[in-house]
Amino acid sequence: MSLLTPEPGDRPKHVVVTGMSLICALGSCLEESWEGLITGRDGIRVAANFAMQGQRSNLAAEVAASYPYKPGPRSWALVREAARQAIANAQLSPESLSVGGVCLGTSLGGWGYAEDLLLRETLPDIDPELDLGFPYFAPTSRLAADLKLSGPCQTISNACSAGTSAIGSAFESIRWGQTDLMIAGGYDVLTAMTYSGFHAIRAASTKGIKPFDRTRDGLILGEGAAILVLESLDHAVNRQAQIAAAVLGYGSSCDGYSMVRPDPTGSGAAAAMAQALNQAALTPQQVDFISAHGTATTYNDPMETAALKKVFGELAYGIPVHSIKGMIGHTLGAAGAIEAVVCCRIIQTGLIPPTIHLHNPDPLCDLDYVPNEARQATVRVALSNSSAFAGNNAALVFGAGTR
């Protein structure tokens, strides 16, 4: 297949999901996390591992303490474990894996190592583990080396939409014939920089995270990792893989509005979602479910509601929309990947996890947010939306099986 001088009959490849993993505050594997999500469990609590001295709050959605205490090794441990689980779920052998590549999204990568260095009284002598471990790309690179991958090795650092963008980038790599298999997803762990920073810009809550609620006052940070094994349909069929869902479309856009606030009209987010639907060759009528970014900040939730109305018009009122951040916090670079896994799981099971802590809906947020209780529904097409610092927006469309 030639992209730049196409031959008649050349078509982009279909891309399917054949393996998934999810580690978050609700569980250390997909099944445990999923159980927590559909029962509407709140994973936010007083942080036990992350040092909170002097911070404005002590609440966070931490993953289990069994991961290394320090944030740098913690990010690598999370990535390694999430990848191991996804690969096992996909029943991939090391040999079949080696043809593939990796694309992970993160806000901070191995930044915890850097904090460890910078918060010391004096910088220690060269320490290869710390010095080579802190860059954004370090965990991706280590994973590619560990798995002996030969395809593309990419790290996306688009802040809070990084997980969505990483899956989108991996999807495009397969779609256009760069490779037949990608390990794609996102991760992030709690760090002093993000925790203090989100409070400094008054985007974080000290009480609780209440997406779309009138009394919401910001996000609470969480941590986690989610990985999807993406394959070309042909590759998956040839190895008789179980297909969990299909990736149908990806879109991205920029607000061009502000560094930290979204465009209140929702135009940017709407453009990304419209582009993803357009690539999937789907109409708004065909979308059965929407996973919202839903950060519970003052600005995000009405903006996102406005964006959905731009894309779906009156249909927006009839499509279930949820935000899982009330349960697992805002996991930054992991968020989009976690939400992608949840979309695939919803398609598989017909169960939509709820938006918890939604008791007093904001009049500006007047859609069906699946409040407080999970719901059964037939979902064939799910749209996942993410937004980020610097006005970046990204969206993915997933479908049942293959088309």
């Binding site: 030639s2 730049l4 806000s107 910078l118 802190f134 790309f137 688009n158 989100f198």
Partner: protein, 361 residues
């Protein structure tokens, strides 16, 4: 697929860098000039703070302050837009931006953490926090130039620019973004120096430090023709692979990347007339790279000196400068030989390898 355009062109570029980098880029095909300068290549090639301070954003209502790193990219983007003849109304609102970086906004992160260390979590700067993510530069450029199209930020080193370039190419071809900005940047910081020292020691790489930014404007041939713009070079193919930890399997990875780049446009290795290599011939990586060129039987191609060896190694900045070196080389060669093709190779800190084929217009 048949609705795709005829190709992707580079219509302009801009560089914010130490004057040595700019000088090298101005004389791309003259190997003697590179050799001369290589002898002085053990300095630092850092940017003058005062010159950077002069770069201000015009849209003060939306962005009151930007950090030093962002200024580099904004400055390079302005130059690139001007060079491409894109001003105001000629820029399409669906234009987007793809970025590659190695260590991102590390200097800003360090500054943020200095505030944390000295004053505690309650004293950190909200202004600085907005610039602690590598995609902050996209937000600033997009706000300044009113870009609403697709964006993505890759972090991985020199090869991150190539991953970003592949994405930008897709956006131009598939999604009809009229223009895509491809940027690479790197800024120096305390930890960046440590990282590089450690990298040099561990991986037996030798390089001096550099920082700066480069920006390319990419457009479809149709869009360029419709606005009567001038193409500088044609994108012929990208290849991406992983060369193993510490570049242990650089040779195998590079072979895959170059083959992929050739396959995209049905080219053969004999058509490659010049190579901008990832590393000097004397380095371990360089030896493997020359072996790949022999395997591909494109030993006839002129091998230009790798830019990083002359200008200092600026990771993703060097990645984008290498592309610019390739553009200038292919332009110059176009006056001497028919249909020259330049192969540009890079090797990132993350072990990723990128290859790009550029053709003359």
């Amino acid at each position: 697929m048949n609705s795709l355009g005829n190709g992707v062109m580079v219509s302009g570029y801009g560089v914010i860098a130490h004057e040595r980098v700019v000088r090298c880029l101005g004389e791309p095909a003259r190997a003697s000039a590179f050799r001369l300068q290589t002898q002085e290549a053990h300095d630092e090639y850092l940017l003058d703070d005062q010159k950077l301070a002069a770069i201000e954003l015009t849209n003060k209502k939306s962005i009151r302050w930007v950090d030093r790193t962002t200024k580099m990219v904004v400055g390079a983007a302005r130059v690139a837009f001007q060079a491409a003849g894109l001003t105001g109304s000629k820029t399409d609102s669906q234009a987007g931006m793809m970025v590659g970086t190695g260590l991102g906004c590390l200097s800003t992160n360090e500054e943020f953490m200095l505030g944390y260390k000295t004053g505690g979590p309650l004293s950190v700067s909200p202004l600085l926090f907005a610039y602690t993510v590598p995609n902050a530069v996209v937000g600033a450029v997009a706000t300044e130039l009113k870009l609403l199209g697709p964006t993505m930020t890759y972090a991985g080193g020199a090869s991150a620019v190539f991953a970003a370039g592949w994405s930008a190419t897709l956006e131009v071809l598939r999604y009809q973004a009229k223009q895509m900005i491809l940027a690479g940047y790197e800024s120096q910081a305390k930890l960046a120096t440590r990282f590089q020292n450690c990298w040099d020691t561990q991986f037996r790489f030798t390089s001096s430090r550099a920082e700066g930014a480069g920006v390319l404007i990419m457009e479809s041939e149709e869009v360029l023709a419709s606005r009567q713009g001038k193409g500088l070079a044609r994108i012929l193919g990208w290849g991406m692979s992983f060369g193993g930890e510490r570049g242990l399997n650089f040779e195998g990875g590079l072979l895959r990347a170059v083959t992929q780049a050739l396959t995209i446009n049905n080219l053969n290795p004999h058509q490659i007339s010049m190579v901008i290599p990832a590393a000097p011939a004397t380095s371990e990586i360089g030896v493997q790279e020359r072996a790949v060129l022999r395997t591909l039987e494109c030993g006839h191609a002129e091998i230009l000196p790798p830019l990083g060896a002359i200008t200092g190694f600026g990771s993703a900045a060097t990645g984008i400068w290498s592309i610019i070196q390739g553009i200038e080389a292919v332009q110059a060669a176009g006056k001497r030989i028919p249909a020259p093709v330049a192969l540009v190779n890079v090797f990132g800190f993350d072990g990723a390898i990128g290859s790009l084929l550029l053709g003359a217009v």
